[in-house]
Structures are given as structure tokens and as C-alpha cells.
């Protein structure tokens, strides 16, 4: 055993048909990291939503722009980074999808789901331009019921 994380990486063109490739890699990474089925599904959904946002909002569907996805598997956690070539956004400044007036909105639930499903979520300017979203999920041993 080494302290080095196992790394899976993808470099994708901004096309929605590439989202499934990331979904698949997410399932592989999360099972290698030791998550149970429920958590694997949560991680897959978070990665999926983040990727769609990178393609759609970040790269504005411009197929000449790329999205990079990186999974790093540590002993105690999985870190996922999704980087696009867009201008970024302020995640503290998006409408709350649970607010009464937004409940029947047809969009605006992606970031909320990512935050619900992952332990850590942040958005930063990527070195070299673009935006990088980082999501972390910790492997926790379930508390034993008494």
C-alpha cells in the first residue's frame, strides 16, 4: 500500500453524449474506493450533474471546448474534479430549489443535489483559465446500531 491516490482521468469534448462515459468512470472509481451501492449512486449523480453543468453552462455547448474529469481515490475519500473552459459562477448566489416559489421550477436542482450527496463542494478559478468544481466524498464506516 502506498499513500499515492489512484487516479482516473477523462478529457471530453463538450457533447452531452460524453456524459455517460463519465457516469461509467464514476461508478468504477466509487466502487474501487469502497463505497456502498447507495453512495455510488449519489456520487454518480453528483458527477453527472457537474459534467452537464460544465458542458452546458461553462462551455456553452461549444464542442471545441473541453471538460476534464479527475477522480482521485484515497484511503478515506474520493475527490472528483470537473474543469471546464467557462467563466465560473458563485454557488452561494443561486436560487434555493426548496423555496416555495421554486418548487415547481423545471431547473435549478443540480448544485443542490451535488451538495446533498457529497461531503464537500467548492468552485474555483482553474489554473490556466476556466472553472474547476471539486467534490469530495468520505468513506465512513456506518455507526453500529446498539
Amino acid at each position: 500500500m502506498t499513500a499515492e491516490p489512484r487516479v482516473y482521468e477523462l478529457n471530453l469534448e463538450s457533447d452531452l453524449k460524453n456524459v455517460e462515459a463519465a457516469d461509467e468512470m464514476s461508478r468504477r472509481a466509487s466502487s474501487t474506493a469502497g463505497f456502498d451501492e447507495d453512495d455510488r449512486q449519489r456520487i454518480e449523480m453528483a458527477v453527472h450533474e457537474s459534467l452537464i453543468n460544465a458542458i452546458w453552462h461553462g462551455n456553452k455547448n461549444d464542442a471545441s471546448k473541453h471538460v476534464w474529469v479527475k477522480f482521485e481515490i484515497f484511503a478515506d475519500r474520493l475527490e472528483v474534479r470537473v474543469r471546464d473552459q467557462g467563466n465560473g459562477f458563485d454557488p452561494t448566489n443561486i436560487p434555493n430549489p426548496l423555496a416555495e416559489e421554486n418548487l415547481l421550477s423545471i431547473s435549478g436542482r443540480g448544485i443542490f443535489l451535488i451538495k446533498s450527496f457529497m461531503d464537500d463542494f467548492r468552485v474555483e478559478k482553474a489554473a490556466g483559465g476556466g472553472t474547476e468544481v471539486t467534490m469530495i466524498k468520505r468513506v465512513v464506516s456506518k455507526p453500529k446500531s446498539t
Binding site: L16, Q41, M45, H48, I52, W56, L103, L104, I106, L113
Partner: protein, 119 residues
């Protein structure tokens, strides 16, 4: 793997059996068109059976909400049948579980649409 949908008519109720993935793109577009077609034919009692849905993303959730709103605006009713645990949990955390009329027994769901002619 994408979305598949087939339609059955049970009494006054249009049952749409959906399977596969309801995700941004084809899956969502297909569902939207289907609902639109039924509404234009005057089918306003719609029961969407999600029992074989393997995956739904935030766009798929949005599409269900949009279908619900479209049917309600036409004076109809849209209900959901047979949620998997995954879809159930998603509707819970997005607070939509209480918005939708969710059923797990088809026969009861069908009869819940019948207008009470006499009380």
C-alpha cells in the same frame, strides 16, 4: 441505454410505462412529447409508471414537474406510480414528494382518478 415509454389505456386513465434513463436530452424530450400528445388528444388523467426507471437526473426531475404543471393547467391530473427507492429519495430531498400524488398500487391509482359523481 436510453428511455423507453409505452402507453396503455385503463378506463379513463392513460398509463405511461417508462423504463430506462430519464436524463437531459433524448429521455426528457421523449417524455415531454408524449405528455403533449396525450393532452392534445384530451387525455388528462395520466399515470406515469416509473417502476423500471433505472436513472433520473435533475433534468428528468424537471421534466416530471413540467409534465405535472402542463397536465394540471389543462384541468387534468398527473400521478406517479411505483417509485424505485432512488427516485423516491430524490423526490424526498427535493421536496417534490408532497407535490406529486405518488401511488404504489396500480388498481388503486386508477380508481383514484375517477371523479366522485355522487358523494
Amino acid at each position: 441505454m436510453s428511455m423507453k415509454a409505452s402507453t396503455r389505456q385503463v378506463n379513463s386513465v392513460t398509463v405511461i410505462d417508462v423504463s430506462g434513463r430519464i436524463t437531459l436530452g433524448e429521455g426528457c424530450a421523449q417524455l415531454r412529447q408524449l405528455i403533449r400528445d396525450h393532452l392534445s388528444k384530451g387525455n388528462k388523467h395520466i399515470l406515469v409508471n416509473l417502476g423500471d426507471v433505472s436513472y433520473i437526473d435533475s433534468s428528468g426531475i424537471g421534466e416530471l414537474v413540467s409534465a405535472y404543471t402542463a397536465v394540471s393547467n389543462q384541468g387534468g391530473q398527473l400521478k406517479l406510480l411505483n417509485l424505485t427507492k432512488k427516485v423516491h429519495d430524490l423526490l424526498q430531498i427535493t421536496k417534490l414528494y408532497t407535490v406529486f400524488d405518488v401511488r404504489d398500487d396500480e388498481a388503486e391509482a386508477i380508481s383514484s382518478f375517477q371523479k366522485p359523481a355522487q358523494a
